[in-house]
């Protein structure tokens, strides 16, 4: 599918700077989470979005606050890009009462339903059918809302991917399936798990557009998603967008990364979504190095405030165990 309306022309300076700020928020947030995880202060497991910031940021910048998203096990970036509040997120990771889920969900289940974030998911592909159902609700109400459904390359080999995308295509639901192809499902390379070059090609079998995007270029993602959102709002149904990107860190805490070379990681780091966008904004005279430094510092401080909030917050009372099993 051809992508029209290049963002360079349509995006205001303010919006571009906001996108940069969002990517920085994700980077700093995740870096701190990594530290706390190493120190045993964040329990269980956690999956970091470092290196993939442009995908969530560009995609969420293309929708309205009233629109929905579903997220993945690697979900902190989506939550931040959808307007998530850092203190509530950090508190959730610390298992505190003040967290988004009152400490009952943790890293893999952060949700902010009121803000349209229908949740991260601990099951690979777990959000696909739920997102499709949310899009069905939008279509039946004719409320003009759309759903962004994030998932990884691994999820497209789950059966529910086929069921969900097919259902959305036959019902022309307002949903955009965003495949974050970060090249590996834990240790399994897309080269071993797929017999096709591009996951977007799978769109052909559903009769919907498939788009391949540089997932490390925030405005390319924005453009592709904007186009797909337009189609949705016109009742033309879903789009599958494959964002080619890379996770810099291991899959999770236990990943010793024997499946890829340091050189490969270094190559991808050169395509850092934040540095690329920063450089572009400076070239376009929309940003100075000093302004960037100030923004970076400001974001870092916001993350520290979130950390402080999380540390100072109480744990849930034991009785909380029994609450909210049922409505």
């Amino acid at each position: 599918m051809a992508v029209t309306k290049p963002a360079e022309k349509t995006l205001t300076r303010e919006k571009k700077l906001e996108m940069l700020r969002t990517m920085l928020k994700i980077r700093h947030f995740e870096s701190r989470v990594d530290e706390f995880f190493q120190r045993g202060m964040v329990r269980g497991t956690t999956h970091l979005y470092i290196g993939e910031e442009a995908t969530a940021t560009g995609a969420c910048a293309a929708i309205e606050p009233t629109d929905y998203i579903t997220s993945t096990h690697r979900g902190h970036g989506h939550c931040i890009a959808k307007g998530g509040e850092l203190p509530k997120m950090m508190a959730e990771l610390f298992g505190k009462e003040t967290g988004y889920c009152r400490g009952k969900g943790g890293s893999m289940h952060i949700a902010d339903v009121d803000a349209g974030n229908l949740g991260a998911n601990g099951v690979v592909g777990g959000g696909l059918a739920i997102a499709t159902g949310a899009a069905l609700a939008c279509a039946m109400r004719k409320d003009g809302r759309v759903v962004l459904c994030f998932f990884g390359d691994g999820a497209t080999n789950q059966g529910v991917f086929h069921e969900a995308v097919n259902l959305a295509s036959v019902w022309k639901l307002p949903i955009i399936y965003i495949c974050e192809n970060n090249q590996y499902a834990i240790s399994t390379s897309v080269k071993t798990a797929f017999n096709i070059e591009n996951i977007a090609d799978r769109s052909v079998s559903y009769g919907i557009p498939g788009v391949i995007v540089d997932g490390n270029d925030v405005t390319s993602v924005y453009d592709a998603v904007s186009e797909a959102v337009k189609r949705c709002r016109q009742g033309e149904g879903p789009t599958l967008i494959e964002c080619k990107t890379y996770r810099w860190r291991g899959h999770s805490k236990s990943d010793i990364q024997i499946y890829r070379t340091k050189e490969e990681v270094e190559e991808w780091k050169k395509k850092c979504p934040i540095q690329r966008f920063k450089k572009r904004l400076i070239q376009e005279n929309l940003l100075t190095e000093e302004e960037f430094e100030a923004m970076d510092k400001e974001v870092e401080e916001a993350v520290e405030e979130a950390v402080k909030f999380a540390l100072d917050s109480p744990y849930p009372e034991e009785e909380e165990l029994f609450e909210d099993v049922y409505a």
């Binding site: 229908l118 739920i130 499709t132 159902g133 069905l136 609700a137 909210d324 099993v325």
Partner: protein, 324 residues
């Protein structure tokens, strides 16, 4: 009062709720012009149109998952899975998503959906179309499980289920679809989690589920002539279970037989027995009896299937064992 079938009672509940609340809609395989594999939704598409009576592809995971997503986003879907055996295909959705969403999001979401599905053996449909699987879902916190035995209960509980803000799995016994009974024409609800004494008695309690309630009632009728007074208790909702109605009945009769169509090991009958023993141990005068299906798949051949399904003879023998 007028009598209608179990199937008609369910259809009437669906129709009345769809008229009352435009957020209520149906989705499932062949539920539109075809009317569903057992004809339960017949005619509803003519009344409500294909937007609210949605034929889906054969995609159980997408049916359950999309119902969940639509519910979280404010609709009140009633999904149908053609045979409860096929809930296996939707298991990740129902167990890991549907049931968990509210809790793991700290109470910040509601999942007001119903999943209707036919249950049970007796149609000669063999091992993949005859199972009793509701017990799997009884083991999943966050779900409500209902298995009505009469047309009146089917209508009242289905309306309650649709109006409830939690996911409800609604198991309809195939052999009950044509069973007739008195059903009020107006809308009414029966509180989820409330069982019913279907027949009062004083010598022994038979705690039976779904179609087994009718077999128990028949045995109770026969034994009455022999001077044995059998109390038949129907939990109606399997989760949350009306533990009190079971415990009170056992305290009264001091004898208990539990009848359930599921395989014996790890089954619903075992759960009921445990509750009775915890709550009424000192009152029991005889070992508790379980009447359940054997630990085999459901066979095809008529004599084999008959041998598989708990029947009146087995219920009667179990009752007599408690009276020895």
């Amino acid at each position: 009062m007028r009598e209608i079938t179990y199937s008609e009672a369910i259809r009437e509940a669906l129709r009345q709720e769809m008229k009352r609340d435009e957020r209520v809609f149906l989705m499932g395989e062949d539920i539109g012009p075809f009317g569903g594999s057992f004809g339960v939704t017949r005619g509803l598409i003519d009344e409500f149109g294909k937007d609210r009576v949605r034929d889906t592809p054969i995609s159980e995971a997408a049916i359950a998952g999309a119902a969940t997503g639509a519910a979280v986003a404010g609709m009140r879907p009633v999904a149908e899975i053609m045979f409860s055996d096929f809930t296996t295909i939707a298991m990740d959705q129902l167990v890991n998503q549907t049931a968990k969403i509210r809790y793991q999001f700290g109470g910040k979401a509601r999942v007001p959906m119903v999943l209707r599905t036919p249950t049970g053996a007796g149609t000669g449909a063999a091992a993949q179309h005859s199972q009793t699987v509701y017990n799997w879902f009884v083991h999943v916190p966050g779900l409500i499980v209902v298995a009505p035995s009469t047309p009146r209960d089917a209508k009242g509980f289905l309306i309650s289920a649709i109006r409830n803000d939690n996911p409800v799995l609604f198991f309809e016994h195939k052999l009950l679809y044509s069973f007739k009974g008195e059903v009020p024409e107006e809308e009414y609800t029966i509180p989820l989690g409330v069982g019913e004494v279907k027949r009062e008695g004083k010598d022994v309690t038979v705690f039976a589920t779904s179609i087994m309630v009718h077999k128990a009632l028949k045995v109770a009728e026969e034994l009455d002539e022999e001077g044995i007074s059998v109390e038949v208790v129907d939990p109606r909702t399997l989760k949350p279970l009306d533990e009190e109605i079971l415990i009170q009945s056992v305290r009264k009769t001091s004898r208990l037989v539990v009848v359930d169509e599921g395989p014996r090991s790890g089954g619903f009958a075992a759960e009921a027995v445990a509750i009775a023993v915890e709550g009424a141990f000192d009152y029991l005068d005889a070992p508790v009896q379980r009447v359940a299906a054997p630990d085999t798949p459901v066979p095809y051949s008529l004599p084999l299937e008959k041998a598989y399904i708990p029947d009146e003879g087995k219920i009667r023998a179990a009752i007599q064992r408690t009276l020895k």
